[in-house]
C-alpha cells in the first residue's frame, strides 16, 4: 500500500488537542492545523450526525471583528452579498472576490449590532483574508478591524437531536433562534454565541466561546449528549456530510480561478445591491456573457469513487474535472462534484470520469444529493 508522508512544519493546535487525543482521534494536517479526521470512524460519525448528533471542533476557523460607523460600507465593498439586509443577531453567507471575480474565500458575516460585525473565514485562508481585509480597510474611515481568531474557539453540534441535547444546558429558548440567526447566551455556565448555522445539512448549532472554556464546553456537551447517542465527529465526516448536502469547500469547488456564479452560489450574489464591490464588474459581465463553467453533481454508473482532480470527458473530449468526491454514507454510493462547460451541465448528461487510467461511465445529477426531511 502507498503511504503519505508526515508533515514537516509545526502545526497549530486548538484548545481541544489533548481532548481529541484522549478520545483516540486520528489527527491529520488541515489548513496548517493538527485536527481530528476521525474518532470511531468516518462512516459511524457521519451516521451519528444524520440520525442523532455529532460534535465537531472547528476552532481552527478564523474570526475577525469589524466595527465602527464605516463597518457596513466596508463589508459591502468586499462581498457580493447584501450585508445591509442583516438585522441584529442575523448572519449571512458570502465570499470575498478578486477584481476578476475569482473567489478568495467564502465566509459568514454575523451582525451583532449596528456597526458591530463578526466575519468567520476558513482556517487555511485566514492569513490571506486578514491581509485582504487590512489592505482594503486603508481607504475607510470609522472602521476598526481586529483578528480575534486566537481568542475564539468554535464547536459545532449538528444533527436532529442537537436542540434536544443543547436545550437543558441553556436558558436561551433555542426554538426562538431561526436558521442563520444567533444569540449571545450561556451554555453549561459558559458564555457563547449560540448560532443556528452549520455545514452538515442537518439542524444544529455552532457555539463560539473563549478558548479557555472550550474544553469544558466540549466535555459538558459530550456528557449531556451521551444518552442521545452523541458522538465526537472529525473532519472526515464533516467532508462526507457537506458533500452530500452539496456545500462548497474552499480550494475545491471555490478557488481564485472560480467565481461564485460558476459554483452555483448566485443566490448569495446581489448584483443589484446599493453598493459596488470588488469583482462586481466581472460578475456582471460573466452573467451577461454566460458562465465559463458550471458546478454539477456526478454519479458513476459503476462501482468506484471519483476523487478531486480526476478528469471528466465527454465524447472523447476532456471537458472538466472533479473537485470533490467520496463514498457518501447516507446515499450508500459514491458521489462527486465537478465543473463542466454549461453546454454539458444538464441533468442526465452522460460523461466519463478518468479513474486512475480507466474511463468510467457517469451521469450528471442534481445537487444536493441529500436534503433533510423538514
Amino acid at each position: 500500500m502507498a503511504e503519505n508522508d508526515a508533515p514537516a512544519t509545526t502545526l497549530k493546535r486548538t484548545p481541544l488537542y489533548e481532548a481529541h487525543k484522549a478520545l483516540g482521534a486520528r489527527l491529520v494536517e488541515f489548513g496548517g492545523w493538527e485536527m481530528p479526521v476521525q474518532y470511531s470512524g468516518i462512516l459511524e460519525e457521519h451516521r451519528a450526525v444524520r440520525e442523532r448528533a455529532g460534535l465537531f471542533d472547528v476552532s481552527h476557523m478564523g474570526e475577525f471583528r469589524v466595527e465602527g460607523a464605516g463597518a457596513l460600507a466596508f463589508l459591502q465593498s468586499l462581498v457580493p452579498n447584501d450585508v445591509s439586509r442583516l438585522v441584529d443577531n442575523q448572519a449571512l453567507y458570502s465570499q470575498i472576490c478578486r477584481p476578476d471575480g475569482g473567489t478568495l474565500d467564502d465566509l459568514l458575516i454575523y451582525r451583532r449590532g449596528e456597526g458591530r460585525y463578526m466575519v468567520v473565514v476558513n482556517a487555511g485562508t485566514m492569513p490571506k483574508d486578514w491581509r485582504w481585509f487590512s489592505q482594503h480597510a486603508a481607504g475607510h474611515d470609522d472602521l476598526t478591524l481586529a483578528n480575534i481568531s486566537d481568542e475564539t474557539a468554535l464547536l459545532a453540534l449538528q444533527g436532529p437531536l442537537a436542540t434536544h441535547i443543547l436545550q437543558p444546558l441553556t436558558d436561551t429558548p433555542l426554538s426562538e433562534i431561526a436558521y442563520y440567526h444567533f444569540r449571545p447566551g450561556v451554555v453549561a455556565g459558559i458564555e457563547c454565541l449560540i448560532s443556528r448555522t452549520g455545514y452538515t445539512g442537518e439542524d444544529g448549532f455552532e457555539l463560539y466561546c473563549a478558548p479557555a472554556s472550550a474544553v469544558t464546553l466540549w466535555n459538558m456537551l459530550l456528557e449531556a449528549g451521551k444518552s442521545s447517542g452523541l458522538l465526537p465527529a472529525g473532519l472526515g465526516a464533516r467532508d462526507t456530510l457537506r458533500l452530500e448536502a452539496g456545500y462548497c469547500l474552499y480550494d475545491h469547488e471555490l478557488t481564485e480561478e472560480i467565481t461564485p456564479l460558476e459554483a452555483g452560489l448566485g443566490w448569495s450574489v446581489k448584483l443589484n445591491k446599493d453598493a459596488d464591490f470588488i469583482g462586481k464588474q466581472a460578475l456582471v459581465e460573466e452573467k451577461a456573457n454566460g458562465l465559463r463553467r458550471k458546478l454539477v453533481g456526478i454519479e458513476l454508473r459503476e462501482r468506484g469513487v471519483p476523487r478531486a482532480g480526476y478528469a471528466i470527458s465527454k465524447d472523447g473530449e476532456h471537458i472538466g474535472a472533479v473537485t470533490s468526491g467520496t463514498m457518501c454514507p447516507t446515499l450508500g454510493r459514491a458521489a462527486a462534484m465537478g465543473y463542466v462547460p454549461p453546454a454539458s451541465a444538464q441533468i442526465g448528461t452522460e460523461i466519463s470520469v478518468d479513474i486512475r487510467g480507466k474511463l468510467m461511465p457517469a451521469v450528471i445529477v442534481p445537487l444536493p444529493f441529500y436534503k433533510r426531511a423538514k
Binding site: 500500500m1 502507498a2 479526521v37 470512524g41 468516518i42 468506484g304 469513487v305 463514498m327
Partner: protein
C-alpha cells in the same frame, strides 16, 4: 489507539501487505496496521476475473483499495499466477477492516519465485518497522 496485530505465521512487506504461505500457494492481504490507517474501506478494485490467466510480478501494483477519504494502491508482496480473488470483498469491503488476516484476504497466487519471500519481514521485524515508522 490500540496497538495493531501482526500474526507470527505471516510475512510482511514494507507496503503493509501480508503473505501466508501454504506449499507453493500464497494468500495475500493487508495488515491490521494498514486497515486501521485507511479507515472505513468502501471498495476494492482487484483482478476479480483473472484467475488462472493473470501473472503478477513481485512488487507489481495489482489493485486499489478505496476508503472513504482516499484511494491507496496495493502491491504484490510476492509474484505468481493468480488462482483466486476474494469475491466476498466486492459487496463486503468492510471485511478488510473487521478481519484483515482472515475473511479480508484478497488474492491467492501460485508463487513463481518463492525465493522472493526472503525479501519480506517476519512479524517481529514488521512490528519493529511499524514502531520506527510511527511518531
Amino acid at each position: 489507539m490500540t496497538a495493531s496485530e501482526q500474526p507470527d505465521n505471516l510475512k510482511y512487506a514494507e507496503t503493509h501487505e501480508w503473505v501466508r504461505v501454504e506449499g507453493d500457494e500464497a494468500t495475500i492481504g493487508i495488515s491490521d496496521f494498514a486497515q486501521d490507517e485507511l479507515g472505513d474501506v468502501v471498495y476494492l478494485d482487484l483482478p476479480w476475473d483473472e484467475a488462472g490467466t493473470r501473472e503478477i510480478r513481485t512488487g507489481e501494483h495489482f489493485g486499489d483499495i478505496e476508503s472513504v477519504k482516499a484511494t491507496s494502491e496495493l502491491f504484490a508482496p510476492i509474484g505468481g499466477t493468480i488462482l483466486r480473488a476474494n469475491k466476498a470483498l466486492r459487496d463486503s469491503a468492510e471485511l478488510v477492516n473487521s478481519d484483515p488476516y482472515g475473511q479480508g484476504w484478497m488474492l491467492v497466487i501460485k508463487m513463481s519465485n518463492p525465493a522472493d519471500l526472503d525479501k519480506l519481514m517476519d512479524a517481529v521485524a514488521y512490528t519493529r518497522f511499524l514502531d520506527t515508522a510511527s511518531h
